[in-house]
Symmetry: D2
Subunit: 269 residues, 4 copies
């Protein structure tokens, strides 16, 4: 594909209003820039570090919000599924079902997501080697060939993630589009003891690096006011600052396409 | 507690006969040695690397086998749960519900397991820092105070696990009994590309090391013929070789108890 | 500085002829492209995995070759020092003294290199956190303010390196120019048991990623015939393929400068 | 050998008096317990994190102190060498030359140490896989067959070490005695930014674990007043608390010997 794809939105469905504000702004910017846009938000944060953390709207209420966003802003929707039974109802609203990284080895969830016929975005687990995403892909591909694979960082010692940029090249071997999740990759897992921290400032540089390596899309959590978000306060991007980031990301994306067109592969690798 | 606990049995419920053979032998040895024994086997291998790997008996058939083992050999039972809906039916048979390591951050599963009132054995995820087991414990403890925490190795680079023995000390801070899983700790994740390998020979030395640090129990997968098992062929222990291993493990366990009784803690730490 | 810097040449000084071939070609390409070029080659491979591996020309013979290259091709020279006593004689020829990564905590070597007044290029150790390069910088800066800091990958499990691209941002905090070593970063340490392997194909993509993050220079080993080199056969780049790589690298370097000029920093980070 | 070996003493040679106090006490305890004792102290801390940290007595003054300790307390001596030229003068006093972990790939240092004919204790680098110690051993063994290999922890993410207890088994494959360094293994590298921290409380449990795995000796830094030491304040053991630790360590050592004598290897592994 010759257009950059963006999966973005607030981490959790906090309210219709928050979702709408993000969807409207991102739809407008991506239309101007020629970027494919998919609205992302989660109805349940099912693996929060702490039992005391907020989990979001819940499935029934969350899907209603997502359906309304889809209708009002004409954007496709991506959201997480956590248990096999959720796949069917979620697929009635969402165009893309997302497999959370921690669950990317759960066979039944991958099979159930595949059976819906929707696109399935598999996040590579923090504990999974890049080439092993193939085994997760194989589980979905039993039923469905519309798959995305997403890099979101790899565990590196306790409370640390590292992005191995070569994973983007290795995941391309699956034959499916590769997405780079720029905001979860900068998390500091359980960095505050009972909740995760993050280095928001690294999201844009890592996004540029991933685009320079060559990817098909970007995943990013974007919020009108990240410090007040119910989750990922340290890693979500400010909606008000997103335009120059996407402009520049799009530029690197196209520079990479041109580079591939100009240079013979054999002379570069 | 002044007796060693052993959670052991074949990795997957392959047949009643295999389970019975293991249960009978382990019951007899542990009775002789004064070890508390809990029979372990899984009705579903829900996160196999490959879609083509066998998954075991399934929940309904598996629980029947476990009930029969319990009745015939008078042993308590531990088995895994993978989704919240399984906790209730499993708790009708199992005395201990086990949370698989990859799922040890899934809040709903931990809550559902806790609601059964059964003992819950939480395996610390391969991506989780030792002190963060507290957040998983807190989720179960909302409903239930009967908890075990288990070390089973930590991701160390791709396709590698390492056992951080200090985690056994840190997990003790939760106040709950600490178990060392000697056979999953020696796995080589996805070591064969589409299935995991293992270093069976390291299971006994690591078990000794963990007992020397000080633990309450051992978890080990034991099979009459590991190379023919449907899973974990390289890491399950031979039933025929288990007696001297348990004899010696028990000896180290009691040496540790004596050491703590003889020496003043302040002079040692 | 508004020009990209390149430190490049054959890994080891195998012969004057090999060095001359590389220096001539790289000097010509970098002059055309407006890149600052520094010729690199090592007179001793002092930390080969195996005692049986070749180590190169030795200091006396090696410095003669480097002096001749400098005179004939009008290029500044960078080469490694391994012990404090080498710094003075090396500094008579070399414009940049390089501290090998494994030795980047050896205080006497850093002090001796700094005392020469030459530029000192400190390679960050594979075991060193990015912010800790400051302690190595402080040792050189006692005597000398001309310092470069180089990323060359970080240990990640056994026999694995990972490039943490955020380290390039963190190392910039020292205030000194940041170099990315594209060919050592793709090594597989002791990948063949008694010598290291490498993934040459990842060097160019990682170079692009590092340039997209923002660096001042590139380090790369380049050889007329890498498979026949006496070291780093799997990671050195082919001299015959280097032109398009440098053209594209230079383009990303300037895109990054433009990006910084166009966008307000506050809107991006 | 059927006796435990102990390499122990203050981290740095701070004064003759400190060294004498430690040597006298340890000599007496180890004589009582039947442990082979080698006095350890370093004349130079050559790789301190910070340029401002104290480095110790220096080689000339340090060797004088070590010679006097040897003479007065009838103990063999182990001390570090950092550059090849040091090996000869050090070998005039020291019975064991120790290769610091960071330097365990420096071929010239290993060769020079081997040429002295003294025992060479090679510390496995924090970045080295266990089986790769063989390449370091081969370099010493060119000249000398009296070798010890020491585990002191492996890098695990930034600012973290982990002890992989299976390394003790793998290093045994070299055929040389295996030592466990209980106090450097609990360091927190650069844990305080410009100097290292440590978890002294883990040294004894890890020592027990290593002895349970099976080792030939223990390395430990011991100081009359660790918080006032010039280095490793958080990891050195208190001289006043060392007796029960050594008593118990010796007991585990002999339990391991008995275990090996009683059980057939094939039934345990």
């Amino acid at each position: 594909n010759d257009r950059l794809t963006l999966l973005a939105g607030p981490c959790a469905i906090e309210s219709y209003e928050t979702c709408a504000e993000v969807a409207e702004t991102l739809k407008q910017i991506t239309d101007e820039l020629g970027i494919n846009y998919v609205f992302k938000s989660s109805f349940d944060k099912a693996n929060r570090s702490s039992i005391d953390s907020q989990r979001g709207a819940g499935m029934a209420a969350g899907l209603k919000v997502l359906a309304k966003i889809k209708e009002n802003y004409h954007v496709p929707i991506v959201t997480d599924v956590h248990e096999p039974y959720q796949c069917e109802p979620v697929a009635e609203v969402a165009d893309v079902l997302q497999i959370p990284a921690y669950l990317s080895r759960q066979t039944d969830l991958l099979l159930a997501a595949g059976r819906t016929g929707r696109v399935v975005n598999i996040k590579k687990a923090q504990f999974m080697a890049p080439e092993d995403i193939q085994t997760a892909v194989d589980k979905v591909a039993t039923n469905d060939q519309h798959i995305l694979v997403t890099e979101r960082g790899t565990m590196f010692g306790y409370h640390q993630l590292v992005v191995d940029m070569t994973s983007l090249i290795q995941m391309r071997e699956t034959g499916y589009p590769v997405i780079f999740d720029a905001t979860h990759s900068v998390q500091v897992p359980s960095g505050y003891g009972n909740h995760s921290g993050g280095n928001r400032d690294y999201a844009f540089p890592l996004m540029r690096a991933a685009l320079a390596i060559g990817i098909d899309g970007i995943f990013a959590e974007v919020h009108p006011n990240p410090p007040e978000a119910i989750s990922d306060q340290d890693s979500q991007l400010y909606l008000s600052k997103i335009r120059p980031i996407l402009e520049n990301a799009n530029r690197i994306f196209h520079e990479h396409l041109e580079m591939k067109a100009v240079y013979a592969h054999d002379d570069l690798l």
